[in-house]
Symmetry: C2
Subunit: 104 residues, 2 copies
């Protein structure tokens, strides 16, 4: 689902957006395709879904600038969650976890 395997033409067909729009949203740092060795963009299904969300917001008059801020906020929250989870995991390991060496 996160593997980047879809070319821009297919993304165009899947989303109904123009290639111009898709590239522009990348320029505005809303989406981050990978590149083939030759330079062609490659997107994931998650990217396609994100693009649809972006397109909806833009239709609602939200600017790419605002959308980017929203995304950063959302991602920050996500990172915070990750950190929290890892800290808790670390605590659990410290209390009850197995050592790395053989526990003979």
């Amino acid at each position: 689902k996160d593997k980047k395997v879809i070319t821009i033409g297919i993304v165009r067909d899947l989303t109904g957006l123009s290639e111009r729009q898709i590239r522009y949203y990348e320029e505005r740092k809303l989406i981050f395709p990978e590149r083939s060795s030759g330079g062609s963009r490659k997107y994931s299904f998650a990217d396609v879904e994100l693009l649809v969300e972006i397109a909806n917001k833009i239709e609602d008059g939200v600017q790419t600038h605002e959308i980017r801020k929203e995304m950063l906020r959302a991602q920050k929250k996500q990172n915070q969650n990750d950190v929290t989870r890892k800290m808790i995991q670390g605590q659990l390991n410290a209390q009850f976890g197995l050592r790395k060496g053989p526990s003979s």
Copy 2:
């Protein structure tokens, strides 16, 4: 998962097969990509997995001809299951199902 959105170059990278091989297996009717309006092949993730299975069998010395027969057998069984399910569904509908018209 069954949406045909992957081009042959990506499939090559994902499977490690050569494009020649991928096209040949299609010629032998083991795989059925869709085509873009311009004629480019488009594969699904399911296709990619199937290709890997095919490649494994061929490495084991099984011929495409045999692989095709296996696939037909497997698919026949699947179809039979589908038919059975539909028949049972039909029976249930006949016994207890709603009519098509308004059930006033």
